[in-house]
């Protein structure tokens, strides 16, 4: 196991390098010219534009730009945004909020997704199974921004149950509604996934055996059915955690949360390569770590899966 872990950690290096290179290339390939956009609809002062390009190394060939970025990144200097702010400061400002929001959404979707999924899976065909299924289908097929706007309008503006927007330094209550919106789609997927896993595992031979041995229904379900059904669910959650950290574009904008998602989006539109690559690098690390944890969990949950 230790050796496996070490190998996986070493494997992160090419992943991070590969991602930064690819993303840098993509930002470089973005059509347009970020410097021209800085002048808005107004006349472009070409001399000033040329200076700005030089300042941000935008006038250099792609590979030089990339290597310069890498070189500076090694000394933890990720450059400045076009607005003159250090990239690292902006990320440091946005990230804690995103982590808070992401974790809340994660707990929300994991808790309700798994609980409803289990209820649904164990009581397949009952009326509440049908209700849970229909609600989860609705969540999947209605776009998130619609759900978000409706919730904000009714819960926030009309009924004053929760804050309308999160604003600065948001607390638990401020983030509750955004987290629910953010987690809703994944919750629906988790419900479906747990439901189908449980209903297929429940008719497995080992369950029959355990029952025949006289185990109580409760411990059969907890020790055998649930444990086996959770493997794909955990894969799902593991990746989702990574994705949640990547920022919740929709929730963040609807509820005015200054997180990573919005930052990424704006930076892509503005062609801020330093910002985009820095964020993506950070996210890649998180993805990779999440995936590693998920793979480790497999081995714990299912002794048949072994890592050498």
């Amino acid at each position: 196991m230790g050796k496996y872990l070490l190998r996986r950690i070493l494997q992160m290096i090419p992943v991070v390098l590969g991602t930064t290179l690819l993303v840098y290339a993509l930002v470089f390939a973005l059509p347009g010219d970020p410097v021209k956009a800085m002048f808005g609809d107004k006349p472009i002062n070409q001399a000033v534009a040329a200076q700005i390009r030089a300042e941000y190394n935008l006038d250099k060939p792609f590979i030089i730009q990339y290597l310069l970025f890498l070189k500076n990144a090694l000394t933890l200097n990720f450059g400045n945004t076009f607005a003159g702010q250090p990239v690292i400061d902006e990320i440091a400002r946005a990230f804690p909020v995103t982590i808070k929001l992401g974790l809340m959404a994660f707990v929300f979707e994991a808790l309700f997704g798994v609980v409803f999924g289990i209820i649904s899976g164990l009581k397949k065909g009952k009326w509440y199974d049908a209700v849970i299924l229909i609600v989860s289908l609705l969540l999947i097929s209605v776009p998130t921004f619609v759900t978000g706007f409706l919730m904000q309008y009714f819960i926030g503006v009309k009924w004053h149950l929760l804050p309308v927007t999160a604003g600065n330094d948001p607390g638990f209550l401020d983030l509750l509604m955004p987290a629910m919106v953010l987690g809703s789609v994944s919750m629906a997927y988790i419900i479906r996934l747990s439901r189908s896993e449980i209903s297929s595992n429940i008719s497995e031979d080992y369950v029959r055996t355990a029952r025949a041995k006289g185990m109580t229904n409760r411990s059969v379900i907890v020790r055998h059915v649930l444990r086996n059904s959770m493997i794909p669910v955990i894969t799902y959650l593991g990746q989702d955690l990574g994705a949640l950290m990547g920022g919740a574009m929709i929730s963040e904008t609807i509820f005015n949360i200054h997180g990573i998602g919005f930052l990424t989006y704006q930076s892509i539109l503005k062609g801020e390569s330093n910002m985009v690559v820095s964020i993506v690098t950070l996210l890649t690390l998180i993805f990779v770590v999440c995936n590693l944890v998920v793979d480790m969990l497999y081995a714990v949950l299912d002794p048949r899966i072994r890592y050498a």
Binding site: L30, G32, D41, K42, P43, A47, S186
Partner: protein
């Protein structure tokens, strides 16, 4: 797959909702004047987006920065809410006979918020700094009519070189030599890039951009990036503006919809815009106080002057331009798509522009007239046939889609020809295509005035000197009679005399239609119930100093 896509969908969906580069406004504007006096013991929270540049006057060219910036700095003149210039720091601005030299006298006793005096040098050094290409200021071009500007555009400068046309006579007097007549100069100097800067600026411009020190009615207390910009009253200020509140806090929003919900929910006092989703209901929304009056921004689409079959100056081109213009049902677009937050245009400037006239010859070309449009198009077809399908490009990240879909439908239905809307994903790509003249069809253009003068709208967008990459004449329109009138106006003895000439110049544009005016953006916004003094100025911005509770 599921989540992955949905999350990525989110990434993509931002455009729907973001406060994006839709209308990148011109470089700031000065504080608005008001006759009212007194003050409250209250602080007003207002909407803003994160400034795209450090808060240095010469580098601030979008609304996120100009909203707070215009309150921190005061220039030689200020504009009242109708756009009329009044002396602010200036005692007098006196031109010579042909407007090639100005003598400027300052009022005594002006101080920056750090207590240092505002002198003639505070202006001349600041102007030279902005004009000097080494200092990479986005508003540099505004100084192009001052003598010595070209010398500051060369390579190898160290950034401290001064404009040779500026001469300091004493602490409160300086003269400005122009490289050519510029009768508009006394208005231009009210633009934010012409603000004076204290000596502390030059020591560390970067730090200054984070914590600017100005001479305006308010001073910066704190700027928490991405969250809020807090301004408090500047005790040293004694100009035209009489603030009726103790301070203004600019809340940074990433999306206007969130701000609107906050106004409704009692969380934000004032915003000077309304999200498209709420334009239909904000005037009758019982939870807010609404404002909606014709404003100073004009929205158009340009047609390149060398576009096949639309060439300007040719009979066929003019016929087709007029036909397209008359086939757009602006009234329906303004009422049904913009829900009344726009106004049908009658010229190429705006109702807020001094000298504006509703009765220019040729304004009927901007009125929906389906039968005439069809007739003109057929006439053009008689000259030459086989016109390629007409396409109009716009940037898709600024919420322009419904408007351009409606325009295209209107032209299509009226003329019975093939027309398409051609969205470009990002503003930066759009501007690049425009700048490189790669768009083969119409393209979105809009103009936010920098200072209240017809010159700002007309010279920059249609003079041949501003074409081919030297200005904002992105359609490369060129008409010698028009150019001649522009030159005449610059040499006019007064701004009023100049405005008469600008009227004549516009009548040429109304016939040639280098761009098709679509509508004037209304100044529209909402305030929370209980907030008093909510009105908007000539720049479609809230008059912050008047707000009180």
């Amino acid at each position: 797959m599921g989540i992955r896509t949905s999350k990525k969908t989110m990434v993509a969906f931002l455009a729907t909702m973001a406060v994006t580069a839709g209308t990148l406004a011109g470089c700031g504007g000065s504080g608005s004047a008001s006759k009212a006096s007194g003050g409250g013991d209250n602080v007003i929270t207002v909407f803003d987006s994160e400034p795209q540049n450090p808060l240095i006057p010469g580098n601030t060219n979008e609304t996120g920065g100009s909203r707070p910036g215009s309150q921190i700095f005061a220039e030689l003149v200020s504009f009242d809410s109708n756009g009329k210039a009044q002396n602010e720091v200036a005692q007098s601005i006196t031109p010579n006979s042909d407007s090639t030299q100005y003598s400027i006298k300052l009022k005594p006793g002006w101080k920056f918020s750090d207590g240092t005096p505002v002198t003639a040098q505070s202006f001349t050094r600041a102007w030279s700094y902005v004009a000097n290409v080494k200092n990479v200021q986005k508003c540099a071009s505004f100084f192009s009519t001052i003598k010595g500007y070209d010398d500051l555009q060369q390579k190898g400068l160290n950034g401290t070189e001064q404009l040779s046309g500026l001469k300091v006579l004493d602490d409160t007097t300086f003269t400005v030599d122009m490289s050519k007549p510029d009768s508009i100069f006394p208005v231009k100097v009210g633009y934010m890039a012409f603000a004076p800067l204290p000596d502390s600026f030059y020591k560390d411009p970067k730090a200054f951009g984070d914590k600017p020190v100005g001479n305006g009615p308010y001073k910066l207390a704190e700027w928490s990036h991405g969250q809020e910009i807090r301004l408090v009253r500047n005790g040293y200020y004694h100009g035209n503006v009489k603030p009726r509140n103790q301070g203004i806090t600019f809340r940074i929003y990433t999306k206007v919809d969130a701000a609107y919900a906050d106004v409704q929910g009692g969380n934000l006092d004032v915003m000077d815009t309304v999200p498209p989703a709420d334009t239909k209901s904000f005037m009758s929304d019982p939870t807010v106080v609404a404002y909606n009056k014709p404003g100073s921004i004009i929205q158009m689409f340009s047609i390149p002057s060398n576009l096949e079959h639309f060439k300007s100056g040719t009979e066929e081109g003019t016929l087709r331009r007029q036909a397209v213009s008359m086939s757009i049902d602006r009234k329906s677009i303004v009422t049904k798509v913009l829900n009344g937050t726009g106004t049908q245009p009658v010229d190429f400037t705006s109702p807020k522009t001094p000298g504006f006239s509703e009765n220019l010859k040729g304004k009927e070309n901007l009125v929906y007239n389906p039968s005439k449009a069809k007739e003109l198009w057929e006439k053009a077809d008689a000259i030459s046939k086989d016109v390629d399908p007409f396409a109009i490009s716009y940037n898709a990240d600024g919420g322009n889609k419904p408007i351009y879909d409606a325009i295209v439908n209107s032209i299509k239905n009226t003329l019975g020809i093939k027309v398409s809307a051609d969205p470009v994903p990002t503003f930066q790509e759009f501007r690049n295509l425009v700048d490189k003249r790669q768009i083969k069809g119409g393209f979105r253009s809009g103009w936010t005035p920098d200072y209240p003068s017809a010159e700002d709208y007309l010279f920059q967008c249609y003079d041949s000197e501003a074409g081919h990459g030297n200005g904002a004449n992105d359609g490369d329109y060129s008409n010698s009679r028009f150019d001649e009138l522009m030159t005449q106006a610059y040499a006019a003895p007064s701004t009023d005399a100049a405005n008469v000439i600008y009227g004549q110049a516009q009548e040429i544009l109304l016939n040639d239609l280098p761009a098709i005016p679509l509508y004037y953006d209304n100044a529209h916004g909402v305030a929370m119930k209980g907030v008093k003094g909510f009105q908007m100025d000539w720049q479609n911005q809230s008059v912050y100093s008047e707000l009180h509770k």
